[in-house]
Amino acid sequence: MPDVTQISLDEVRSLDDSVLAHSLRRFQRESSDARDPISAFGAFNQHGSSPW
């Protein structure tokens, strides 16, 4: 698998609004918020039968 760290933050920000660009932005945010892996939840809860 390619090393994603080869892609700079500026490069990711400049990507178009594709699924991959969105995913890379999320991954970068998550990586920068490593203080507590459990508390770094974004838009969802864990419950499979609830989508928010």
Partner: protein
Amino acid sequence: MADTVAITRSDRPAEWPDGFLEVAALRENGWKPSPFRQFLFKVHSRCNLSCDYCYVYEMADQSWRSRPVTMSAEVVAQAATRIADHVITHNLDEVRVILHGGEPLMAGREFFVNLATTVREAVPPECTLEFGMQTNAVLLDESFLDVLLTHRIRVGVSLDGGRDANDRHRSYANGRGSYDNVVSALRRLSAPPYDKLYTGLLCTIDLENDPIATYEALLAFAPPSMDFLLPHGNWSCPPPRRSADTTVTPYADWLIQIFDRWYTAPGRETGIRFFDEIINLVLGGRSQVESIGLTPVTLVVIEADGSLEQVDSLKAAYPGAPATGLNVFDNSFDDALELPAIAARQIGVDGLCETCQRCSVRDICGGGLYPHRYRDGTGFLNPSVYCPDLLRLIQHIRDCVRRDLADLVRT
């Protein structure tokens, strides 16, 4: 309605993890439980629809029959106190309260006002508190939406696609479909000022429906996100068309059609949770949902009578499967963290069977949704009954992401 005989946990032979997984031994080896951060309130134990696949009413566990219809104010107040204690004990900076049922809107407007007010007053102000709800939406009129807006309770709606797809399973007891009522509610929810409450759509997969038509029918309601749920089933009670032939992957085939349509769209049309989570895991990130990945599950369920339960979808496994024997009046949430059944979903790789431990996509799949691993006799120490589908779907998504990353790095 036929009488049922409840089979309690104590009547059953020990199955993994109960009687096998020792929390004390885990602690001695350095493991620490993760505090709960998500509290799912079963606020109403009845529903105004009669969906034929519902895990609450149509599957193994029938405990809803003996529950109070609506969660009492006393249970709400005691649960709020326990949440506050848990926040203080573990110095939590964010917790989420999820309102669920049955159909939660049947609890009524005043119930929602009281619950939101009670929990907000109990939880220390330093802790961010978020509310969300999953509903069938048929009671979601403007007066209810005003209450939800005032109390900042976000809303997810269940919808299975277009009219025919939805009404095949999601109907009233008299057989009338729910589609028209849900559509009316979605039009209100997706328009200002209520659109800020709108979190997305949940769709249970029916292989009889065309996947692209289903996706596009949901997309028409402009959901911020959506998700496609695998029908509940397990090794002892397999899902529809999930055969023992591991070369057959009907659910992966169905989902891959949607993935390719979504992933290759000119722009991002919406979030699809299951796919977003798999991509994030492929990139080396963490999952945020219990159905995929190895992130410790920090969700606990509070039933209408105050009982504490594991994840409610375990009701699909066997009678009493979600039970813990604990309740908010006699027990703290820390007590629940000492249970093998809770620990089993927090210990990552160590909670997987040997087949999963050897698998090449182990850390992405994480064994799939816990209830889907159940087999009578061996409990939850099995691969998911959807193992072939999960493997094929993950490999497909991983290949797409790898290919695009390689192109990106080269350019």
